[in-house]
């Protein structure tokens, strides 16, 4: 059965709504060595990328998921009857960025970074499950600590937090902007 490993993986990812993680695959396919699964996944990603299919296989939020290619956005939106996709507001994005780069972080810390109260944005982000509460800080008042979620990664097409630009890369970006 393992000589069909690429096809098996394809089938499993196809029926998965959430990105299918290598851990989960290893659980489902205990007989397949993880290296073989990893290699087969890479080959699948490449095969879809090279094909002229409308679908691609994308490593997302630590797992693998099928998605449409960008040029098929208009017909898909017509099918789903979605005029425009909801986007995050400037404040929500600022708050989210502060959480992403300073996590785990408290509301007061975010407010200090942004210079404005961020409770409303935090609430919105929590509602949309882009951030989550991970506990309380051992500090006066034991304030709640926030972190970004897997959904945050998926929303921005990131595979891991490491995919976000590093401090140096950001510095370069800022210099370009100022120049």
């Amino acid at each position: 059965m393992m000589d069909q490993l690429p096809q098996i993986l394809e089938a499993l990812i196809f029926i998965s709504v959430e990105p299918l993680t290598p851990d989960k695959l290893a659980e489902v396919l205990p007989d397949a060595p993880p290296e073989e699964i990893a290699a087969a996944l890479q080959a699948l990603v490449a095969a879809y990328e090279d094909s002229d299919r409308a679908i691609r296989l994308v490593p997302t939020a630590g797992g693998y998921v099928f998605s449409t290619k960008p040029q098929f956005d208009p017909p898909v939106r017509r099918l789903l009857q979605i005029e425009r996709r909801k986007k995050l507001s400037g404040q929500a994005l600022e708050t989210l960025s502060a959480v992403a780069y300073h996590q785990p972080v408290t509301q007061a810390e975010i407010a200090s970074i942004r210079g404005v109260d961020s409770s409303y944005s935090l609430h919105t982000l929590l509602e949309n499950k882009l951030i989550k509460i991970v506990g309380r800080k051992e500090a006066p008042g034991r304030p709640l600590l926030y972190k970004t979620t897997e959904k945050f990664l998926a929303h921005f097409g990131l595979n891991a937090l490491e995919d976000l630009p590093s401090a140096e890369e950001l510095k370069k970006l800022m210099q370009e902007e100022n120049a």
Binding site: A111, G115, L126
Partner: protein, 293 residues
């Protein structure tokens, strides 16, 4: 808002806190209590949208840091060497341009004004003895501005990525990418707790389950047993024999076996009178046992 006087705020924040010192000469002077008025709101978990107003009221600025960065860029100022007097003047001009200050929405802008004036006073005022001469009173503000600048750069990156992702569809997206109404995450973490609790209970239940080993019964064995009994006892009382089994299943099996043996003409069953018990004999001319199995 008013986080800078919130006792919960980490120490770095507390240093920039003395708006009171600067208040007498600042725009905030007319309403020095404004900041404290808002303080009780801050610790509340999720107060009403206090920061939503900025986008409408102060146009393009997300907050005082945003405005400051804008002024610094406009004046082509080196962020590491901000002429505080110039920038404070510019900043206050912006605030003065407003006819009325909405305290709910603009308290943070006032707080920043107070901080700027405080830093200015730190630089101007002669000191009796130089306290920590190495420390530039502007340093903390510069650090904050740079941190904020970084956040703004991240916002740019995220916005771009969001734009890209908006054209890509996954199957999950069919169930609304950013649902309007969703479960509160605070509750979800409670659900998580409940879920793991139930999972644990389930495991516990599994532990308490005891498997009762059923007797393994087969027709062949039973038939041989019946034949063996008949060989020893000459005949058996049908009802008595069935009653001697300790489970219904086994008794039923014995009954079927007797029927089978009758059919195979190994035994003979005779009821001497109506309503009398049925007696079972081994047939004298019975075929060898093996054949029925």
């Amino acid at each position: 808002m008013a986080d800078e006087i919130d006792p919960d705020v980490p120490s770095a924040e507390a240093e920039s806190a003395p708006p009171d010192a600067a208040a007498p000469e600042s725009e905030a002077a007319s309403t020095p209590h404004a900041v404290t008025e808002n303080a009780p709101e801050a610790p509340a978990a999720f107060p009403q949208p206090a920061d939503i107003g900025y986008q409408i009221k102060l146009g393009m600025f997300e907050g005082p840091l945003d405005l400051l960065l804008f002024l610094i860029k406009k004046k082509k100022i080196d962020i590491q060497d901000i002429p505080i007097a110039v920038i404070t003047g510019e900043y206050l001009e912006y605030l003065n341009a407003k006819e009325k200050i909405n305290l709910d929405r603009e308290a943070e802008f006032l707080l920043m004004a107070a901080l700027l004036i405080y830093i200015k006073s730190q630089i101007l005022l002669p000191r009796e003895q130089p306290v920590e001469p190495d420390i530039d009173p502007r340093k903390e503000l510069v650090d904050r501005l740079q941190d904020y600048q970084q956040i703004k750069a991240v916002v740019g990156v995220l916005r771009e990525r969001e734009e890209e992702q908006a054209q890509i569809w996954r199957r999950a997206a069919l169930t609304a990418p950013l649902p309007e109404q969703d479960l509160d995450l605070i509750e979800v973490s409670l659900f998580d707790l409940a879920e793991s609790f139930f999972a644990m209970m389930k495991r516990k239940q599994g532990e308490n389950l005891q498997i009762i080993q059923g007797k393994k019964l087969s027709m062949g064995d039973k038939m041989s047993e019946i034949v063996a009994v008949l060989k020893v006892r000459d005949h058996i009382d049908f009802l008595e024999y069935l009653g001697s089994h300790d489970s219904l299943e086994e008794a039923l099996l014995a009954f079927f076996c007797l029927l089978e043996l009758l059919k195979a003409r190994v035994v003979v069953a005779i009821q001497e009178q109506l309503f009398h018990t049925i007696k079972v004999w081994l047939r004298k001319d019975a075929p060898p046992e093996k054949e029925q199995e």
